[in-house]
Amino acid sequence: MQPVDSFLFLLVGAALFCIGLTVVVLKRHAIVVLMGIELMLNAVNINLVAFSQYDPDRIQGQMLALFVIIVAAAESAVALAILIQVYRHFRTAQLDELTELNR
């Protein structure tokens, strides 16, 4: 039972990053854009973990991925709080309709 080739992990990470980038660029709803950012962060984590296999003593890649997960959780919490406040103010969460800072 041979382990999985790490090249495939890198390939999946690249594909996931590109899909996340497409979601961020194309979607109009702010929450879906946030989901795209989460997908991109996950792609980065896959890359970090794939390279961390070759460092079993210090696993620096996994540690960095752990901190990335924690910071992503904090980021999404703050972003959703701001989004709820924006929705209260403008009555919309569509990014194209948010053209002014104050209305």
Binding site: Q2, P3, V4, S6, F7, F9, L10, V12, A14, A15, L16, C18, I19, G20, L21, T22, V25, L26, K27, R28, H29, A30, I31, V32, L34, M35, G36, L39, N42, N45, I46, V49, F51, Q53, Y54, P56, R58, I59, Q62, M63, A65, L66, F67, I69, I70, A72, A73, A74, S76, A77, V78, L80, A81, L83, I84, Q85, R88, R91, Q94, D96
Partner: protein, 185 residues
């Protein structure tokens, strides 16, 4: 067997992410994001990151995704039950847009060319590291040791960051922090 599991989890991840891209419903997008995150957790297990997989499931699926679904429900317009217009493609590349279809083309072109560039780089790159043998080994003990020795300062810092971010998010989302024209606080 391991290869088969890898391909299954990779397909789960990519199909979930692609469904987030193509679906028109925000709530469906959240559920497809769940698929993608679970597939990523499986990939973590296959790359000998078992602790990270559990952390992924607990934090992302148990925390972030629930938060996202609450955000979907709180920003839902009650007067339009099925608002199909909210998933039209974005109009950000607006300088030379001709109709609705061209923005899809621009975004897909950007991401597709980025993927092509990454693919070429990955195929051509000759990582010497990737030719070394690798074995599956549980990472829980090592992560515990590392968190208390080498990474103790980032660990405490990120704890304070998380506390401050969650307190700030609670304050921001509360109705007390109503945005006013003239800031009185």
């Amino acid at each position: 067997m391991l290869q088969l599991a890898f391909y299954a989890f990779a397909a789960l991840t990519l199909i979930g992410a692609f469904a987030v891209l193509v679906t028109r419903n925000v709530l469906y997008a959240a559920f497809f994001l769940l698929l993608a995150l679970l597939g990523t957790a499986g990939l973590f297990v296959l790359a000998s990151a078992d602790f990270l997989a559990i952390a992924q499931i607990m934090i992302y699926v148990g925390g972030v995704l629930v938060l996202v679904i609450f955000g979907v429900m709180l920003t839902h317009k009650p007067d339009s039950p099925i608002d199909m217009s909210n998933q039209q493609p974005n109009r950000i590349p607006s300088s030379n847009r001709r109709g609705v279809g061209s923005s899809w083309i621009v975004g897909t072109l950007v991401a597709g060319s980025l993927f092509a560039a990454l693919f070429i780089v990955l195929v051509r790159a000759n990582f010497r590291l990737l030719s070394q043998p690798v074995g599956w080994k549980s990472a829980v003990n090592t992560i515990g040791m590392q968190l208390m020795t080498e990474y103790v300062v980032p660990f405490e810092t990120v704890a304070i960051l998380l506390l401050a971010a969650l307190v700030g998010a609670t304050y921001l989302a509360s109705p007390l922090a109503k945005p006013t024209r003239h800031a009185t606080r």
